[in-house]
Symmetry: C2
Amino acid sequence: MDLNKYLLDKKILIENSLKDIALSFHDCPSPLRDAMEYTLFSNGKRIRPILAITTCEAMGKSCDDILPFACAIEMIHSYSLIHDDLPTMDNDDMRRGKATCHKAFGEATALLAGDALLTEAFRVMSDNRYTERTNSRITKQLIFEISSAAGAMGMVGGQVMDVLSEGKEGTRDVLHYIHTHKTTALLRASVRVGAIFAGAKVRELKKLTKYGESVGLAFQIRDDLLDAEGEEMKVGKRLKKDSTKQTYMKHYGPIASKIRLEQLVEDAVQAVQFLGRDSIILAEIARFVGNRVA
Amino acid sequence: MDLNKYLLDKKILIENSLKDIALSFHDCPSPLRDAMEYTLFSNGKRIRPILAITTCEAMGKSCDDILPFACAIEMIHSYSLIHDDLPTMDNDDMRRGKATCHKAFGEATALLAGDALLTEAFRVMSDNRYTERTNSRITKQLIFEISSAAGAMGMVGGQVMDVLSEGKEGTRDVLHYIHTHKTTALLRASVRVGAIFAGAKVRELKKLTKYGESVGLAFQIRDDLLDAEGEEMKVGKRLKKDSTKQTYMKHYGPIASKIRLEQLVEDAVQAVQFLGRDSIILAEIARFVGNRVA
């Protein structure tokens, strides 16, 4: 199993699907379209849509019809990056090795490009052009899953705590809230979307949810480690900024963070063992998330 | 027919439904919840959800089950006000006679409260707690209708043009684009949501769409007139700011604007004549929109 080739193949599949979706933006004002596409096609890892697709395939279902939902998750992730980088939030100038959206297009256009990507994600999922072959009841369930993970009780809730606890002492409870909401919620939902789409039974969904949660937390702890120990050139964004933020490193130190990270990867691998041979790629992705250098 | 009583009754109905929805925010960080509720319950006219409900009832269908969709539209309208008022956008300190969301809660929390209201609108529509009795195919269609109207080719597209054309000469084409997208798209969708929910036939939907478009444009021209001629105390926001914006007044002058406004109200009234006696309230609402003083 060559994981790098697998990830690249899926990335190409997702980007072709995103390009097809972006064609539907052609009617909107060009500065808006340019800003949306600038961030949507900025060489992201596409880990969220890959998780949705890989979970779906591991459950034995073809991934063709899940692509619009996987792309919608990526659009929501892209919007969150744009808003997160704004001056009033993290005030970042660089993302994925290039200027952030507001640096390239101005604050107002960036703000609105984020709003548009979020809204269009829901348009894509409800648009028969893309999702006609999917049962409407399942579509509704996936929209619920994704909006719950992205909303006030999910990602946005995590962002608020992240911003409001900046520069403060903070507690491990606050850190845990930020981690499980800001990053984990959407990664977890990506796995659940794949599982629900493939018709997972309650017991299977529970295990895959555990996998998604573990991968999500591992992803964030790895992010905290990269922030403290990574190289800006490789990671593609400003680092060491988390000295004022609530991070795993700050609250637990480097050794405990690395042990916790390894444990989470192991939890994720264990959670998908019920899939037998079909668990291999999901397990490899969990290890990849725990070891990534960018 | 006492229109004021009718509007007040519907407003109470909608606000009770919104309060029920707001209970579901109780798990999110309290500053976020407070900021969301601050704007959502800031004495708005609720004209969009009222249009959805009234259209539905004019078509002979009970409005009970459309309420979650009507409320979702109002949540999207609320988010658009929060983002529109931000310093990087219109930079407004006052809205509906009180401090704007970012003045009361800070920019980061306001930005995220907008993001949350937008996302939660889609959560509400896909949440079986609220929409279980509605056929999933119809739910999907309504989500498509609303997301299309609010997204890059709708409201957000209009906002971008509005911001980017500020302080510029501008053309009537640009003005028309802004008006039909920034304001009209969501008002038109409100009427269409009511019509689709009530099972309107193609011919009926076409006429009700015409009604929604006319009311939407009338609403915006009235807004432009109020900006130029209204009193800040009554209108509840800073006025005369549109001197740098593309407005109907700027491009056509006061007399032509008033004539156009009257024509649009008349177009709206004509469009719903096919409903016979059931058109009365829709016609009254069109006149109300054309004459409103706040």
